[in-house]
Symmetry: C2
Subunit: 830 residues, 2 copies
C-alpha cells in the first residue's frame, strides 16, 4: 500500500520509548524528564473532566510549552476581519480562554528553587493512573547544597465534582534539615506575559490554522479579588463575550515541622507561601483545593459564592473522600467502557490511555459540546466540530449514554442559531455551524468550513443511533425530532431536482469530510448521509403520529410540519443522486472526482507533508488526493447501502490517494480495511491512530489531545476488529480479530443491558453483565438472545475475507496508464 | 429579455437630468450644485493624467464625499491577516494612498466663508472641458451682507508635465468692496481626521469589498517641510512600503487691490493666506502651481529637488503656456481618438466623457499600470486588474499605441514577481497576480481572485494584438516574448492530459471572468484564451528563429526555451478541451455548468441586487447565474473559433442569466448582441455602459470612474456597432449601425497609418488621415487598400442579421420545464 498512510512513520507495533515510558496496562508513566518535548508531555499527562482541564505542566511552573488551564466553552469573542469581505461570512471569532493557572506550587530548599531541567534528580517518576484519575510525580532531588529531598505531588480534576481540582505537594528532607518554602500560586496567564502569550502573539505570518488565535488586548477583566486565612477568591469577566468566571483556592498544610504562612492576592495573582523549618524525615504536605465556576451571564459575585460553597463542601467532606469518589467513578467507567486486548500490554496501555482521554474530554461536558482537543489544549480554539457526533458519540452511546444525551441536548440548544445560519445561507430549516463555541458559525474559511453542510446529517445520524441503542424515544419526541425536522428541511431545500427524465435529486456546492477537495456537486458522503437524515426524519414523524399522538401534536404546533413536506423528504431521499462509475466500479467522491488528475503521493517527499502546509488550496483541490476518509467513511456509516464488492473497490481506490493528513482518517480506513479483508493494513491504521498523540505522529500533540481519534480508536476496536454494525436499529457482528491478538473484549450497552463481547480467533461470546432485559444481537445473520441465561457463544471458522497485504493495490487503481505510470502531467513539489 | 441587465433601470436613451447637466458635445457641465451626490460629481468632474488625479472636490474644501488626490502606484502595504490561514494565501495588502490635498482654496468675504450648500448663489456653472482639459467653475455669490461676488476658478492636471497641476481662483466684488481672504492650503488628509478617514474607519463589519481598506496608523511619515516666499515644500515616506513623496506648491497673486500675504507650513499642512482689500470691479486672482514627485526608493530630498525644478520651470514658462500645451495635447488626442455619432448630442457628450476618462486614466501612467478607477478614486485600492488588458488596451492600441506599449512594459517588469507567484502555486513559468500594485498578489479571496489564471492569457492576448496592430516586432522580440513564453509554460504545466483515448487537454480548478461561478474545470473562456496564448507563444518563437535569429538566440539564452516545449505548446493548444453541449447547442461555461440550477432572476427583487451583497458566495456559486460575460466574452475575443449559430445560441442562453452586476459585462453583451442580430438590445447595453458613471447606475461611482467600462464603450463602438474584428492580424468589418444613428465615425491606427472609419446606414468609408503606408482592411470578405489615394467606400445593403427584440429569449433557453416554468427548487431571496 505505497503512498497511503498505512505505512507512515510506524514500522513497529509499539513505537514508544519504553525506557522513558514503560508499558503498564493501567497507567502512563514517565521515568525520564525532558525539556525537549514538553508540549507533548503536557498533553499526554493532562487531567480533566470534560468541564475543567489542566495541562500536564510541571508543578514548578517555569518550564513549559504552554501553561494551560481550560474550561470547556469559556471563551472570548472577537470580530473576524476578512481580508476580503463577502455576504454571510462568519463574523464572530470565538476562542477558548486560558483561565487562571492553579497548577503552580513552587518549591525552594535552602532558598534554591527546584527546576527540573537542571536539577540533580536521583529518581523521577510521573504517572497518570487510569484507575484513580490522579497524576502523580515522585522525585528525589539532590539540592545544590547536596541535600536529598523527596518531593511527591498529586493533581486531580474531579469527575464527581466538575468544578473541583485538588493538588498537593509533599516534601521530605531525607538526610538533613533545611528551610523549605512552598509558594502555591494562582496566575492569570491569559493576560500575563508568559511564554504562552508571547509565543501565540509571535506566530504572525504563516500561522498554522489549527492553532488558536492570540489576543492583543486584555481578555479577563478583574472584577473582584479577596484573600483571607487559607482562601483566595478571584473573579473575572471576559471583555467581549461577557462570560464570567470565579476561582476559589483553599490551602492546607500538614506537617510536624514549624512553619509560618503568608497570603497575598491582587487582580491577576494569588499566592500562599509556607515557610517551613523542615527536619530530616519529617514530611510536610501542602494541599490545594481549587474551584472554578463559569457562566454566560451570572454575575461574578454569584460565581464567587458558588466557588466558596464548593470549597466549603470539600472542607467538610475532607480531601481523601474526593480521591475515594474519583476511584469509584472510574471503576464504574471502566466497568462500562473497558476494552481489553489480551497479552498485549503495550497496546492495552495505549488503548486505555485513549479511552481515559474520552472520559476526560466528555464526562462532565454537560451543557457544552466536546471540543476537538477536549480540555487539554487550545488547539482549534476550543471549538466544537462534527468530530463529536461521528467519532466520539458511538463510544458514549454504547458505554455512557447519559453523556451522549448531554452532547445531543447541547446541539438541540443550538437549534435557533442554526436556524439563523440557514437563513444567512438562504436556506430553510437549520444549518449547524461548522465550528463554534456559542452556536454562531466561527469558520472563517467557508470552502473547508461552512460548505460542510454534512454536519447537519452527522448530528441527525448520531441522534438516531443514540435513540436506537438506548430506546430513549421520549428524548427523540420531545427534543430530538426538532433537529431531524429542521435538518431535513435544510436538505430538501438545499438540493434540487434535475428534470431530465431521470428524476434525480442533486446537492450542489458542498464540501464533504475530505478537506482536500471542496465545494463540489453530489459529494457521495453528503448525499448518503442526507438521504439517511431525510428518510429518518420522515420515519420518526410518521412513527410519532402513531405511537405518540400527543407529542406529535405538540411537535406539529411547534414546527408546523405538514404531511406534504414529510412525503417530500421521503421522496427526495429515494431519489438522492449517488455517484457511481461503472467503468471503475467505484463511487466517485463527487460528480467530477474522477476527472481530476491523480496526485502523485509516491513522489511527494515527507518534507512536503501534510500537504496543506506546503501547497495552495487551489493546487490541492485540483487533484485526486484526500486529506481524510470520505467515501470510505460513508462505507462505514451507511454500509448497508453498499455491496461488498463496492466496498472493496472503493477502499482500494481511495486508500491509495488518502494522505491521512487529518487524524480523522486512520481509524476509518482501519475499519473498512478490516471489513474488506486487508487485515494487516487495518492493524497498521489502527496502531497509527492509537499512538497518534502518544508518539506525536502529526507533530501537533502539543496543541492538545486529538479527541476524535481517541473516539475513533474505540470505533476501530468495536466496529473494525469487533465487526459490530448498528444499521436499522439492529446490532450485528462479523468480526475481524487481528491474527496477532489472542482476544478482544469490549462492552456495549444495549437498551440498558450491558453486553460483554469477547472475541477470540475461533469464537465470539456475549455475556449480559448488567441489566435484566435480554437483547438480541446477530452474528453473520444468526440472531442471538443475550440475557440472564448466561454467556452465548458462536464459533467462527474464519474472520472475513483475507487479502494478502503485499498485493500492490496501486497497480489496480484507476488514474494510471496501461504501463502502470501515473497520469500526472504535474508532479507537485518535485 | 427579462431578467437580463439589458432592461436595467434605463428606460430612455439619455437618462441625465438635462436641467442640471445640459447636453454639450465637448464638455460636461453642471448648472445646479447639490450636496446630495457629491461622491458622484467628485468622480465625474475629477481631473487627472494617469499619474496624478484630483477628485472634483469643491475649492472650499469642506463639503465632500471624499477629499481625494491620488498618484497611480503610490501605495502603502499592510500584512493581510486571514481569519483562517492557508499556504500561499496573499500576504501583502496594497492600498493606494490619499496624497496631500492641494485643491483647497478657501474664500472669505467680510470674514464670511463661502460654503456652497448654504450660499445664496445667483448663478452656478461648473464644467469639465474635454478639449482643453480644464475644470472651471463660475459662480455669482450674494454674501450674507448682500454683496455680490463673482468667483471663477480653474483646475488642471497637465497631460504634458505629468507631475504638474495648476489651480486658480479669481474673485471680483461686483457691487461694493470688501475685505477678501483667500486661504490656499495643502493638507495631508491620509493621516488627518477628515471625513474620508472617519468614513473609511467606520466601515468595519459588512464592508463592501470593492472599497479600499482604511489604515489605523499613520501612513505618511513626514520627512521634511519648508516654506519661503511663495513656495511650500513637503516630503513624506510611507511607513511600510517606504515609498517616497514630495509635494511642492507655488503661489502667485495678480491684483490691482492692496493685499498682504502670510505663509505657514508644518508637517501635515501648508497654508498661503492672502488678505486683500478688494475694490468693486477690481479682480484678484490667486494661482497655485503644484508639483508631485514620487518614487519607490529615491530619497525624499531628491524628490523635493525635483519638485522645485518642476515649479521653477513653470515659473519660467509661465502658467498660460501650460494651458496652451494642454490644449495642444488634447487636440492631438482627439484627432487620434475621437468617435462621432452624428445628430446625437447627448450620446456624443457621454461618449466623449468616456473617452476623456481613458485619457485621464492612461496618458501618463507610464511606469505604472492602469488602476480600476484610474486616478479618480480609491476604489479597489488602486489595484491593477485584467481590466487594462482586455477593456482598455484595444483603445490604446488603435489610438495611442505608445501608451499601450507602456502598459505592456509594466507587465513585463512584473514578470519576476509572476515567476515567484507561479512557484507559490506549484507551477512553472509565470502567473500574474490577479490584483496588485507592486507585482505581488494582493487578492485575499482566491476563489474570485488568484483562481482567475486567465489573466496570463489576457496579458498575452493584449500583447499580440498590440504587436499585430503596430508591427512593433522589436518590442515582441526583446521583451514581449518573455511574457508569451512564461505564460505558455504556466498553461502547459497547469493543465493535464486525460488519457482516455480522446487525448484532450484539460485545465481544472480555475475561475473565469464570471465571479459568480468559481473554481471550476475547463472554463470555456480560460481554455480558449489559454489555447490562444499557447499557440501564439509557439508561433512567435518559431517565427523569431526564422526572422530574428539574433534575438532568438538571446531569448533562448535568457529563457532556456527548447524546441520540445514549443512543440508541446502547439500540441496542447490543439488538444484543448472546449466544452460543448450538443443537446442545447451551447458552450457550457465550464464542464459542469449545465448541471447547476438556474437562478430565478425574474423573481429576485431589485432590493437583492447586486447578488454579491445579499447572498453568501456558496449560494451564488451553486446556480447558473453570471455576474458578467464569460462565454460571451470568449465569443468576442476568440470569435473566429465559433460559428454564427453557436454565437447566437450562446448569447441567448447566457444573456438571460447574466446579472451584469459587474460593469465589465454590459459592453461585451452589447458587442455580441450586435453581432448576432439583437440590435435594439445591443444599443440598450451600450447605453447603460455609456452612462454607468454619469448616472451612477451601479451606485458606486463615488469610489471612482469605472475605467474598464469606459474602455468597453470604445470597444462597443468600434467592434460592436463598427463591426471591426482583428483576428489573425487581419482587420475586418461587418458593421451594425443602430437604426437611430445617422452615422458613426471613429479612427484606428494601423501600422502607423490612421484610418478614419465612417459608417452610415448604407455604406462604410475608409480614409487614411495620417501616415503614408497604405493598409488593407476587409469588409465582409472584400479586401480594401486604404491609403493616400483617398477615401474608399463600400456600400452596405443591410447591417447583419436583425432579430426582433420582442422575441422572448427566456422561453428558448435551457433550464426550464416543458411548461416553461423554471427549474429552481430553491428561489433565493423569496
Amino acid at each position: 500500500m505505497k503512498g497511503s498512510n498505512g505505512d507512515a512513520p510506524l514500522t513497529e507495533i509499539d513505537p514508544l520509548n519504553r525506557t522513558r515510558f514503560p508499558a503498564d496496562e493501567w497507567k502512563l508513566s514517565e521515568r525520564i524528564y525532558s525539556k525537549d518535548d514538553l508540549g507533548v508531555t503536557e498533553t499526554l499527562f493532562a487531567v480533566g473532566n470534560g468541564y475543567l482541564g489542566m495541562r500536564g505542566n510541571v508543578e514548578e511552573g517555569r518550564e513549559a510549552h504552554t501553561h494551560g488551564t481550560f474550561i470547556n466553552g469559556f471563551h472570548e469573542v472577537w470580530p473576524i476581519r476578512h481580508a476580503e469581505e463577502a455576504f454571510g461570512f462568519a463574523r464572530v471569532g470565538q476562542t477558548i480562554v486560558n483561565v487562571p493557572d492553579n497548577k503552580v506550587m513552587k518549591l525552594y530548599v535552602d532558598d534554591e528553587p527546584l527546576l527540573l531541567s537542571v536539577a540533580d534528580l536521583e529518581s523521577y517518576d510521573r504517572s497518570l493512573d487510569f484507575r484513580d484519575g490522579v497524576l502523580r510525580r515522585e522525585i528525589i532531588w539532590r539540592t545544590p547544597a547536596g541535600k536529598r529531598v523527596k518531593v511527591t505531588s498529586e493533581r486531580m480534576v474531579s469527575f464527581t465534582q466538575r468544578h473541583l481540582a485538588i493538588m498537593s505537594i509533599e516534601v521530605t528532607m531525607l538526610d538533613e534539615g533545611a528551610p523549605v518554602v512552598i509558594s502555591s500560586q494562582v496566575l492569570n496567564r491569559q493576560d500575563g506575559k508568559d511564554e504562552y502569550h508571547v509565543r501565540a502573539a509571535a506566530m504572525g505570518e504563516g500561522a498554522d490554522p489549527r492553532k488558536a488565535e492570540a489576543f492583543a488586548e486584555r481578555v479577563l477583566e478583574p472584577q473582584t479579588h479577596w484573600s483571607g486565612d487559607d482562601r483566595i477568591l478571584l473573579g473575572y469577566r471576559a471583555a467581549n463575550s461577557k462570560m464570567t468566571l470565579a476561582v476559589g483556592v483553599d490551602h492546607q498544610i500538614d506537617t510536624e515541622n514549624d512553619y509560618s504562612q503568608r497570603m497575598y492576592a491582587d487582580e491577576d495573582t494569588g499566592k500562599m507561601v509556607y515557610r517551613v523549618q523542615a527536619r530530616p524525615g519529617v514530611p510536610l504536605k501542602v494541599t490545594k483545593t481549587v474551584a472554578y465556576h463559569t457562566s454566560r451571564g451570572v454575575p461574578v459575585r454569584e460565581l464567587v459564592d458558588r466557588s466558596r460553597r464548593t470549597l466549603d463542601r470539600v472542607r467538610e467532606q475532607g480531601v481523601p473522600q474526593q480521591f475515594v469518589e474519583q476511584r469509584e467513578w472510574l471503576d464504574a467507567f471502566w466497568r462500562r467502557s473497558d476494552v481489553e486486548v489480551a497479552g498485549q500490554p503495550e497496546l492495552q496501555q495505549a488503548i486505555r490511555w485513549n479511552l481515559f482521554q474520552l472520559a476526560q474530554a466528555t464526562a462532565r461536558a454537560e451543557q457544552a459540546g466536546v471540543p476537538a482537543k477536549g480540555v487539554t489544549g487550545s488547539g482549534y480554539g476550543g471549538h466544537y466540530f462534527w468530530d463529536t457526533e461521528i467519532y466520539v458519540l458511538p463510544f458514549l452511546t454504547y458505554t455512557s449514554p447519559g453523556m451522549a444525551r448531554s452532547a445531543l441536548r447541547f446541539r438541540y440548544n443550538m437549534l435557533d442559531a442554526g436556524r439563523r445560519r440557514a437563513r444567512d445561507l438562504t436556506q430553510r430549516g437549520a444549518l449547524f455551524p461548522w465550528r463554534t463555541i456559542n452556536g454562531e458559525e466561527a469558520s472563517a474559511y467557508y470552502a473547508a468550513g461552512t460548505a460542510q453542510y454534512h454536519i447537519d446529517a452527522d448530528i441527525s445520524y448520531a441522534l438516531c443511533k443514540y435513540v436506537a441503542a438506548t430506546g430513549d424515544d421520549e428524548f427523540m419526541w420531545r427534543e430530538g425530532v426538532d433537529i431531524l425536522v429542521e435538518t431535513a428541511r435544510m436538505w430538501a431545500d438545499l438540493g434540487f431536482w434535475r428534470e431530465d427524465g431521470s428524476r434525480v435529486f442533486h446537492i450542489h456546492g458542498v464540501t464533504g469530510p475530505d478537506e482536500y477537495t471542496t465545494v463540489v456537486n453530489d459529494n457521495l458522503f453528503t448525499n448518503v448521509m442526507a438521504r439517511f437524515n431525510l428518510s429518518k426524519a420522515a420515519e420518526v414523524v410518521q412513527q410519532m403520529e402513531l405511537s405518540a399522538p400527543e407529542a406529535f401534536e405538540r411537535m406539529v404546533g411547534r414546527l408546523g410540519v405538514t404531511s406534504e413536506e414529510v412525503d417530500e423528504w421521503a421522496e427526495v431521499a429515494d431519489a438522492m443522486a449517488i455517484p457511481f462509475d461503472p467503468q471503475t466500479g467505484i463511487h466517485p467522491q463527487d460528480s467530477l472526482f474522477l476527472e481530476r488528475e491523480v496526485w502523485d503521493l509516491e513522489r511527494t517527499p515527507q518534507s512536503k507533508r501534510p500537504l496543506m502546509l506546503y501547497y495552495h488550496p487551489l493546487v490541492i483541490y485540483r487533484f485526486q488526493v484526500l486529506k481524510q476518509a470520505d467515501v470510505v467513511l460513508a462505507l462505514f456509516l451507511q454500509g448497508d447501502h453498499f455491496t461488498e464488492a463496492e466496498k472493496r473497490a472503493d477502499f482500494e481506490y481511495y486508500d491509495a490517494i488518502t494522505t491521512g493528513d487529518s487524524t480523522l482518517s486512520g481509524v476509518v480506513q482501519s475499519i473498512i480495511a478490516a471489513e474488506v479483508g486487508y487485515h494487516e493494513l487495518a492493524l497498521r491504521y489502527f496502531t497509527s491512530s492509537l499512538f497518534v498523540d502518544l508518539v506525536d505522529l502529526h507533530g501537533n500533540t502539543s496543541d492538545g489531545v486529538h479527541v476524535a481519534s481517541t473516539g475513533g480508536v474505540w470505533n476501530a476496536l468495536a466496529y473494525g476488529f469487533g465487526g459490530m454494525r448498528d444499521y436499522n436499529g439492529q446490532i450485528t457482528f462479523d468480526p475481524r480479530l487481528p491474527e496477532s491478538w489472542e482476544s478482544l473484549t469490549f462492552r456495549v450497552l444495549l437498551q440498558g443491558t450491558r453486553v460483554r463481547v469477547h472475541l477470540t480467533g475461533d469464537a465470539i461470546e456475549f455475556t449480559a453483565e448488567e441489566g435484566n432485559e435480554p437483547v438480541v444481537v446477530s452474528v453473520r445473520g444468526r440472531d442471538l438472545k443475550v440475557g440472564a441465561a448466561g454467556p452465548v457463544s458462536v464459533p467462527l471458522a474464519d474472520q472475513g475475507p483475507r487479502i494478502e497485504a503485499d498485493i500492490s493495490l496501486a497497480a489496480q487503481r484507476g488514474g494510471r496508464r496501461e504501463d502502470g505510470s501515473l497520469i500526472t502531467a504535474t508532479v507537485p513539489g518535485l
